[in-house]
Symmetry: C2
Subunit: 187 residues, 2 copies
DNA sequence: AACACAAGTGGACAACACGTCCAGTTGTAC
DNA sequence: GTACAACTGGACGTGTTGTCCACTTGTGTT
């Protein structure tokens, strides 16, 4: 993760920044967190932040990274139905369920990523795209390309937040709806 | 639309602001348009803008309003399959096709709305929600609430832009994918 | 036609966030 | 212990925001 030869003070500040940012994203509006906020809260200067992160979104992405990688590894090598082995429709439903779990646990961070560059331009989105695309192909869908983004759109943090906190839906209800979507797409 | 007793100069400035904003949204990055830009480009002061519009998003929403109302009226009272009469699955597909048309024609404006308050908090979203919900109910879906936002998520301007200009997909391909989605949801 | 009032207007203002720059400091290798 | 490179922190200039207030301009009345 960190460069091989990272100075001790740099590592210390990196940890401070990440801890402070995590706190800020959780306790205040994730879309309103600024670079200034993080710098002040972490007790470091602004240039120290900009050295590694171009914007707040990338800080949120860094915090999210390890959690997303766990899901990614379970997708590629884990047990079915999330991992390989189950029918595509079931794998897609399992993927949705895993993503709802991620959204429920780390919604502030995921909203924070969106506030920056936008989730469509983030590396992880390409991974999810490739996975869903492979499921569509395995399911016999002729033109999977346009369907990929359609299938991923409901996982936008904004949408999940709206469902949870405006509509008042439960994670279980959302998961059920997405399971129905999975079945509908890969009938 | 305008208050009954709107002063002549106010009406003139309203028109100037809307024309200038429309131009700006189309010719530059819709997410980078500022209140300053619009004010300067329209030749009015900043307070004149803030009198009627709290942010750039609401200006874009005002410009979009009449175009959206046309679709809304066709949904409620137009000919099938967009209007009443056709089976729910076909009506949903027709709705998707109409929205793709709207996105294709007015993408800059719709991205501009998103840059402001966000499309989920805009009045029109509630209308689309109610319409899709009624289609789901008519189609016999037991728990339509969570599916509504799922079904509308692929219509996010961000998603459409990504499909068109990053993936290089055509409006027809996107419409086809959404038609499949409609069939899958309301099988 | 002149008046009075309310509605409308424009620019100034302070606060804030951004991204960069540079001089000083602190680790690390020799 | 010394020298170098990496790292750091705060200051700086720019641009945007939202509000405030004095002025202007329409409109209805006498």
């Amino acid at each position: 993760m960190a460069p091989q030869s990272e100075r001790a003070d740099a590592a210390r500040n990196r940890a401070r920044v990440l801890a402070a940012a995590d706190e800020l994203f959780r306790t205040s509006d994730p879309r309103a967190v600024t670079m200034d906020d993080v710098a002040r809260s972490a007790g470091v200067g602004r240039a120290t932040l900009y050295r590694r992160y171009p914007d707040v979104g990338s800080i949120a992405a860094a915090l999210l990274d390890e959690h997303e990688r766990i899901v990614q590894e379970r997708l590629m090598g884990g047990a079915p139905p999330l991992g390989p082995g189950a029918p595509p429709a079931e794998r897609l439903a399992a993927f949705y369920a895993a993503m709802v779990e991620l959204l429920e646990t780390h919604l502030p961070l995921m909203l924070g990523v969106d506030a920056g560059a936008g989730r469509l331009r983030v590396g992880a989105y390409e991974f999810w795209s490739a996975h869903v695309r492979s499921l569509l192909v395995a399911g016999g869908v002729e033109e999977p390309d346009a369907l990929v983004d359609v299938a991923l759109a409901p996982l936008a943090p904004e949408v999940y937040q709206h469902q949870r906190h405006v509509r008042g839906l439960s994670p279980a209800e959302i998961t059920t709806a997405l399971a129905r979507l999975a079945a509908g797409i890969l009938a």
